[in-house]
């Protein structure tokens, strides 16, 4: 029964991706431009690291390939996450404008259905970039490539879950674009710098409040050492944040359904 339900939602996701892609491809030029733009943007950071490592070959035991791996996992995970679940980035706005109503008129469970509804076009640039640099610069063997893709999935789950968590603040703080946006952005920023740079309490924060460590540390170590423990850790973090995000979303939803939000909807 559960498998059946899961299949249904996967098919629903597939259909939304199909339609979203079709809609984007109606404007091929603009779509391509957005993807290329994101690749250029991400490329800027890559060139920084290449310059850095041409001068300083190692950073606490990590070399240029490790940092590129980190960037690849982060970018591809980010791209996959918000390419498919684009609305995870738009929750505060949707909540404040009462736009959850339209989604509530359909049979599928609100949260997944809502998330699939939108695709952020630029994300496919990130996904392409991530997978591209991993293959081109790190030159993995089949086993590592397979593990890489698995870790991209775990990163994507973390990004979606964390996006839901931040976005659900919209139920409690109104259109708190500012605050939840900052928290979300800070996490993404941290996830593109090696967690090995940080010690002590900051490192603890990177696995709790700002869960970037599950992106900038565990997957890289998993690939460096081909370790199932670090892979498991990555997934554990991702799943915990997905559950946390979902719980807070549905709690906030009960406030939405009672109509007593900070800003009263029309």
């Amino acid at each position: 029964m559960m498998i059946n339900k899961l299949c249904n939602y996967l098919n629903l996701a597939k259909e939304y991706v199909r339609l979203n892609m079709l809609a984007q491809l109606e404007y091929k030029g603009a779509f391509a431009a957005q993807i290329i733009g994101m690749v250029i943007n991400d490329g800027t950071w890559l060139s920084f690291w290449c310059l850095f490592f041409s001068r300083f070959p190692a950073l606490r035991g990590w070399d240029v390939k490790d940092v590129i791996t980190m960037w690849a996992v982060a970018a591809a995970g980010f791209g996959l996450a918000y390419g498919i679940c684009g609305n995870a980035l738009r929750l505060p706005g949707l909540i404040a404008k009462g736009q959850l109503d339209a989604w509530m008129l359909y049979p599928p469970a609100l949260l997944p259905h809502l998330l699939f509804g939108k695709m952020v076009a630029t994300c496919w640039g990130d996904a392409l970039f991530g997978i591209g640099i991993y293959i081109i610069f790190v030159r993995p063997d089949i086993a590592h490539l397979a593990l890489f893709l698995v870790l991209v999935l775990s990163t994507a789950i973390l990004f979606v879950g964390f996006g839901i968590l931040c976005g659900s603040l919209g139920f409690y703080l109104g259109n708190s674009q500012g605050l939840s946006q900052q928290w979300h952005d800070a996490t993404i920023t941290f996830s593109t710098y090696p967690a090995t740079l940080f010690d002590g309490s900051i490192k603890l924060i990177l696995f709790t409040l700002i869960p970037a460590g599950f992106i900038s540390f565990c997957p890289v170590e998993a690939l460096r050492q081909f370790s199932w423990q670090f892979t498991l850790a990555s997934f554990a973090g991702a799943v915990i944040f997905l559950i946390l995000g979902t719980v807070i979303f549905y709690h906030g939803l009960s406030r939405y359904e009672s109509g007593n939000l900070m800003e009263m909807r029309g």
Binding site: A30, L59, Q182
Partner: protein
Amino acid sequence: MNFFSKYLWIALTAARSNMAYIGEVSSRFIFLGVILYIFMRLWQVTYHETSASQLGGLTLTQMMWYLTITEAISLSATKVAQEVDEDVRNGTLAVQLTKPISYVLYRLATSLGERTIIFSMNLLIGAIIANTMVGSTPLSLAGLLLLACTLPLAFLLDFLGNFIIGLAAFWLEDTSGLALIYSRITWILGGLLIPLELFPYWLQPLVKALPFASMIYGPAKIFVAPDINNFVEIISRQIMASLAFSICLIILYRIALRRVFANGG
């Protein structure tokens, strides 16, 4: 002088309209706090691992302040390319083509007004953060003064570059891709994230000669390591680059004029 005061008024109005965004301040604080902290850790670890007291001629404190200035500059970038692009498409520019100076000056005045305020805000916030993290021992008033002297031309240069990109709207369907590339090239070759002294040795003379170095690297470097010879060099590079860009601008304007009159606007 009526001419001058009109543009001054435009600059001040644009500046004033940006002061209203108090929420901006806190979000800038958070953003700058995060990246400057990350940079600090990155360079602390690097200095420690290489057991160096100076890298690229800069101590850790100087490096942090260098990055603070480069970030303050790049985060104050305005959307001139986009604005010029819009004005090209909606015909505002075509109307102005016969008297182009006033349009360029108008755009320059608004952009400088905005940019000065946002840069000052970034500088203040960044300075507080940097001071908390690494102190401010090597800094001097001389550095601050020299910085202030190099900024106007740096901003002018960036304005001219963006304006040229915006003019491409006469020929391109969408200039946002070009604007993005320009912005990112400025970051990389302008030494936003890493001082030009740490570039591969063979690349350094080339990069320092490019106009991008004069926009970001030049002012930041003169602030943390004030030196009269260096200052003169930076100013002269800025002047030359500004002249080059201005000539480019005039040529493009002429071509655009011909195109507008040929196609009837």
